[in-house]
Structures are given as C-alpha cells and as structure tokens.
Amino acid sequence: MMRNDMSDIVSNIRKVAFCLLGLLVILFIYLSYIQVVESNFLVSHPLNRRNAESTRHVKNGMIVDKNGEKLAYSEKSRDGFKRQYPYGSITANVVGYDSYQYGKTGIESTFNTYLTGMNNPLRHLGAISHLWSDLPGNNVLLTLDAKLQETAYRELGENRGAIVVMVPRTGAILAMVSKPSFNPNTLDSQWESISTASNSPLLNRAVQGLYPPGSIIKVMMADAALTENIVDLKTTINCDGALKVPPDYILAESGLKAHGRVNLEEALAVSCNVTFGSLALRLGGGKMAKTFDRYGFKLPVGEELQEAKLRLPDFNSLGNGDLAQVGIGQGSLLVTPLRMAMLASAFANKGKIIKPNIVTKITDSDGNVIKEFMPEEWITPTSPQLADAIKEMMVTVVNDGTGNGAYLSGTRVAGKTGTAENPHGASHAWFIGFAPADNPEVAIAVIVENAGSGGSIAAPIAGRILAKALH
C-alpha cells in the first residue's frame, strides 16, 4: 500500500515537472520570437525612442542633390548634432525634417537607417560594435536638381499646389515641390503653428495630395479609345455643346460651346468634354476599369516615395452619368501629381513607364558606394505606335490648343491642360507634358489649387520650368 502510494506521488510530481518545465521552454521560444522575429518591428516602431536616443550622438549623413549640392547635413551643436537644411522650405517636403522631438519625415525618414548608419552590420554585434567608437552615418544622393527645384518653387508663387519634374527615360525625379511649405531649420520652435495650420504645410502634395485630374486624363482616354478600337484617328464625333446621358444627365462644355464635328486630335486640342464623355460611355465600365488597371492606378509605386493610395470609382456600379464624368477626369476619381507626371512620361517614353525614383546612391562617409539604385521598368500601358500618336496630339494641344501657354520657341512641347472642378472652391489648374517632343528629356506635372483654368495658369508655369530644365 505504502509503496504504491509513494510511486503514485512520484509519478504525479513527474507530470507536474514536465508541465512546468514545458511552460518555461515555451517562454524561451516566445522570448526568442520577440527578440529575433519581432525585433525589426519593435526597433523601428515610431514610439520607440531608443533609435532616436542612440543616434543622437551620431553624425548623420548628408542628403545631396545630383550635382552634389547639400540639401541636409549635420552640424555639431551643444548637445549632439543639429540638422541644417540650406534650401529651407524649398526642399522641405521632399527631403523632410529630422527633429528629436517630432520625429522624421520624407527622405530623412525613409532612408533613416542609412543616414544614421544603423544599417551597418557591425551594429548587430552588440557590445563588440562599440569597439569601432562612433560610426558616422551614410550619405544619400538624390536625383533632385536643387536649382530646378528652386525655380519650380518660385513659379508656384503664393499659390497652393505641387510640381513634379521627372526624366521619362529613367524615372529620375528632378524636382518635387509642394506648397505651402515650412522651414525645417526652425521646425521645433514653430511646431505649434506649422502642425495646426489649416493649409497643411506638412503635407507633401506631390505624392500625398489627392486631386481630381480633370481634362489631363483625356490623353489616357484617347489612348483607350484607340487601343479598344472604339474610334480611329479619322473618326469624327459631333459636339453640340452638351452631351445628353439618359435618363436625365447632361454633360456640358464650359460655356456650352459647340466644337462641331471633331476628330480625336482636334477634340484633345480643344479639350472637348462631349467627345471624351461619349468615348467613356462607348468604352463602358468594363473597358474603363481595364484602362485604369493598364496604367497602374492600382499598383503602388514603391515605398520610398510614400505615395497616397489613389481613389478609383467602382466601375461595376457606376451609372452612365458618372461614367461620362470619369471620362473627363471628374467624379470620384482622385490622383496624385506624381501619377500625372508618370502618365505624361508614358507617352514620352514609347509607352513605357519607368518606376519613379529619387535616390541614386548611398555612400559611406569616405565616399565609397554602399548601394546603388538602377532605373527599373515598371509597366508598359500602351504600344510605341499609339504612344507616338498621342504625343503628336499633345504637341497640337500646345501649338494650337488650350496648352498654348506652355509653348516654347525652338522646342516642340507636348502637353495637356486640365481644369478640375472640386468642392473646395475655384477649379484646380492642371498641366502635364514633356519636351522636347522628338526626344523627351523631361516630363512635368503642375497643379495649382483653386487658381482657375489650366491653360491660363498651369501651362505658362510648366513652360517656364521646361525651358529652365532644358536650357
């Protein structure tokens, strides 16, 4: 009896021991999970101040433009380093800010691990890494051209808006301006007013601003109509100033102006709403959705640019009136200025869109290249023939149509204007285009918020910036 009883207790204790030791082993596995798998998430969590603290005494690398012009650098100050931005508000939205108190944005944030040198493999060696004393951060070389950026910034004047200038062949962004801006050098002391201002200076409108594209979307509609064989280059459509969409919607030209019988090229030159509204109806919801897919409206353009998600209408449930609206770039369609610069690039680059990029190289403090970024082909929404056909139409827009404000003597400019109605007051003025048309070197998108018509406001600005970029 006694013996049995003892062995029972012993076997019970053995079971308890297995369970409890098992719990501790699970704990060990869980701890490994946190410290190995979850580690990256926890290290880079915005509320984790450890990185900011540990890099406070590291000399962060510089951010320089394509010509080696400094856009951001660290300067020794009383406690640690202070970030300096020679171009101030001109590059503030794209370069971002680096504030101990308020965090980081822009390139300062997306390339933070390089700038602070946290990517250095030596840092994973724990205590041993401290043998190499303070490792300085790496430099980030941008595709940006500071002088062009400055021109674009001045061109916007006191208006709200954004400008994106890029090279169609490489996707390199030469200028990215957003207005209003802020002075990153004095951010800490002005944070209260900057962060609460109603015109949101902290918003990088070039990638985060969502706008109706208005008539600039018609270049894509023209390509869709040709691709889907709805019309050919000779087909004409009669415009009597208004398009009646059954049952009760009427899509009107501005001022009810009748354009008469126009072919696609003429319709684009005068930005005929009736033509493009009826093309949208003829394409129907299915083919319209296909077109937006083809042009990558559902694809993200990569994390480093932090683009906002575009808003597309649900084409399946769209009524005819709304479909015609989308055909002229109104309705629930919202896009970013960057996307519209990319749209122009497609026609400049034989139907190919190269992934937009803003960083060319990362170099260490001695100038050795650590990482290089090569242009990457992104999508090919249309054929070289159609792209060239649209390009010629866009040249006509500038030479003889609404885009005349962007005309440059001696250089053929291709473009398209847009005047986007919006619920916030006067129309947004748009222009997209590229030059020289025969061998495109730069593409551009300009939006000036609530400023009026694209032809009179945005086109001249674009023309001057193109001239400066090509000079």
Binding site: D8, Q35, L42, R50
Partner: protein, 421 residues
C-alpha cells in the same frame, strides 16, 4: 562525496568569474573603477567558495548544481543592478551575503526536515499570518502594496510565506493522502472530495482572492493558489482538483474583472497594449521595445536605454537584461532557471519520504510558477503581475527568501546513505 563538492567548487569559480567580469565591464564603461565595488564582489565570490568548503567539511552531499546556478543568477542580477542603480549595488551585495548565510542555516536545518512536519500547524499559522499581515498592514512602496514595516525593518511577507505554506500543505496532505484519494462524495455526476480535505485549498483560495482584491497583488494570488492546487494534485493524482481549482479561480477572476476597474485595465493592456501605448500600457510597451531593440546580441552593457521602463530594477529587470545583453543572456537566464527547476524536481523525485517529496515538489513548483509569471508578464506572454525574479531582482526579502528555499531543496537533494535502501 568529496568529488561532488569539488565539482561544485569549480562551477562556483566559473560563476564567480562571470560575476566579476560583469561588474568590471560595467565599472569600466561607467568610466571609474570603484574599488569598494570590486572588493565587495570578490568578497561575495569568496563567500560562495567558503560556503562550499563548509558544506564539504560537514560532509553534505546535496546537489552540486543548485548553489552555482544561484551564484550565476545573482552575478547577472548584481551586474544589472550596478548598471541600473549603482547606489543599490552594495545593499544588494549585502543581501546576497545574508542570503548565503541563510542558505547554510536552512540547508542544515532542513536535513532534519521530518521533524518540521510535526510543527505543521505552526508553519501553517506562520504562513497565513505573514500573508494576513501583508493584507492587513500592507504599505505601498514603489507601487506594490505588499510591504510590512516593523520599526526599522521593512520586508515583503509574501516572499517568506511561500515556504511556510508549502511546508504546511506538504505535512497536511501527506498525512491524509489515502483519504484524499479515496474519500469522495458523489453529488450527481460530480465526484468531489470530502469537504474536510479541500478546506485548506479553500482557505488558500480565499487568501489569494483577498490579496487579489485588497492588495492588487495578482501575482502572489496566482502563485499561492497555483501551489495549493498543484500540491493537492501531487498527492491525489486527481485532475478534478485542478479543474475545480481553475473553475474557482476563474469565477474569482471574472468577479474581480467585472467589479474592479484596475483588473480590467490590466487584462485589457495584456490583450492589446498598442491601444494605449503612452498611457496604461506604457510600461509593458517599453518593455517590449527593450527586448526588440536588444535583439540577439543586445546593445551592450550601459549602451541601451532600460531607464525608459519604470520600475526596471525590480519587476522589469529581465527587460533590462534582454535589452543590453540580448537574447544570448536573457535566453541563458531562462535556461539557467530551467536547469535549476529541473534539479529541484529531481531532488523531489530522488527523495524517499512522502513529506520531503512533497516539500521539494511544492518548492520546485512554486519556483517554476514564479519564474513563469514574471518573465511571462514582462514579455506580454501573460498578464503582468508584480512579482520578483528569483536571485536577480533587487530586494532583500526576495533574495533572502529564495536562498532559504534553495537551502531546503539542497538539503532534500542529499541522497543519504540510510535512505538509499
């Protein structure tokens, strides 16, 4: 027999070298080498060796792993405390010294463990009075309302009550074990033990609930309740006790959750700390950041930011270890505990008397539970409960109580010739 103690001495020397190395590393990075600190550390290492020599002289054949493992943990703890709160270093070193003395006394007294069984009601009385004293006269120090202040002395009775409760339960249960397994009452489909035998269980449950509610001490409540259930299971082998116990505990917890907002917040923090990372969940979120930032190799001693976690030197000391020394040391600490708990259970299994089996089993279980609750708490594996990490956390009560507990396990682990029939 001498062989065992020689192995122990070698292991103690290794643990001593690790301790000295840690202290030196922190001293050097802090910029100044304080000879008081180095001297004290050397003194501690010598004390450990001295205890080993005394045990050798007394012909003690206890488990040679237990003391070196404790020395290793104490060394990691001291290093971390020197890094976190240098002004508490000498106090902590003193507590370890006192703990070592208590270990010796406890190891020699516990060799005559069977005689303690006679005083089971005294043990039970002491244990319950200690817990009651904390409940009735508990003072809030550093957020924990489980301190008792007696004139110049202040201590945490719940740390000491543990071993008395285990002794009492072991004696009570081992005397009545046949009845506990056999005498049952049938209530419909339910087979319940005679009320007389679950009385102590109910009593401990009641105490646990009181601690839970009055002191907000969820950790101690869980710990005592867990010990009572597990020890009852050890004797009876009936899973129904565990099930009944868990149901009772769940009912209690649910009531508390419904009635008390602070329990609700604790559970909500555990379920989703990211909902309020700067408010109620601040401590646990900071702790997770510490573990994540530490990664595998850690930031290196003194190069991390454990100061961002409130109460880092007591409840959250494990997070500081994880941050500055990485998974390498934090994982090693868990492995050391696993070995220690394993050796403790082994002592229970090798013992021949039901009483000492139960004492060792209960103490091992309490040690494992405590480690699980606190490490699980700071890693968000389990809702956070404020209890200390044995041999590492700062605090006299915790250090001394755990060394006494270790002494008892050490004595039980001795395979005595007259037992080995």
């Amino acid at each position: 027999m001498t062989n065992i103690r020689r192995h122990e001495r070698t292991l103690l020397l290794i643990a001593g070298v690790i301790m000295l190395n840690g202290i030196l590393a922190v001293s050097l990075t802090l910029g100044s080498v304080d000879y008081n600190i180095i001297g004290t550390t050397c003194g501690l290492v010598i004390s450990f060796i001295f205890v080993n020599a005394l045990l050798h002289k007394a012909g003690h054949a206890g488990d040679p792993l237990l003391l070196p493992l404790a020395a290793l943990l104490a060394g990691i703890g001291l290093t971390t405390i020197l890094r976190l709160k240098p002004n508490l270093f000498l106090l902590q070193a003193m507590w370890i010294g006192i703990g070592l003395l208590c270990f010796l006394i406890s190891a020699f007294i516990a060799r005559r463990l069977e005689q303690i069984a006679k005083f089971k009601y005294v043990c039970g009385f002491i244990g319950i009075s200690l817990l009651l004293s904390a409940i009735l006269f508990g003072t809030d120090i550093g957020g924990n309302k489980n301190w008792v202040i007696l004139g110049p002395i202040r201590f945490q009775p719940s740390e000491f009550a543990k071993m008395f409760i285990v002794l009492f339960l072991a004696a009570y249960l081992s005397e009545r074990r046949e009845l506990l397994t056999l005498a049952t009452r049938h209530y419909g489909p339910l087979v319940l033990p005679h009320p007389r035998f679950i009385a102590p269980l109910i009593a401990v449950w009641g105490l646990g609930m009181m601690m839970f509610i009055l002191q907000r001490d969820m950790g101690a409540a869980l710990l005592y309740f867990g010990i009572a259930i597990i020890m009852t299971y050890m004797v009876s082998g009936r899973l129904s006790y565990i099930v009944i116990g868990l149901i009772l505990f769940l009912i209690g917890s649910l009531l508390c959750y419904k009635l008390y907002s602070h329990i609700q917040t604790r559970v909500d923090i555990w379920l989703n700390p990211w909902a309020d990372p700067n408010g109620n969940a601040y401590q646990i979120v900071q702790s997770l950041f510490a573990f994540g930032s530490g990664g595998i190799m850690g930031s290196g001693l003194t190069y991390g930011f454990p100061g961002m976690i409130p109460e880092v030197h007591t409840d959250f000391i494990f997070s500081a270890i994880g941050e500055e020394m990485g998974l390498m040391v934090a994982g090693a600490v868990i492995i050391i505990y696993i070995i220690m708990v394993y050796r403790a259970f082994r002592a229970a299994l090798l013992s021949t008397m039901p009483f000492s089996i139960l004492v060792a089993g209960g103490l091992s279980a309490s040690m494992a539970l405590q480690i699980f609750l606190i490490i699980g708490g700071v890693t968000k594996f389990f809702p956070l409960t404020g209890i200390t990490l044995p041999f590492i956390s700062y605090g006299g009560s915790s250090i001394v109580a755990n060394f006494i507990l270790l002494g008892m396990l050490f004595a039980i682990s001795e395979v005595r010739s007259y037992d080995a029939k």
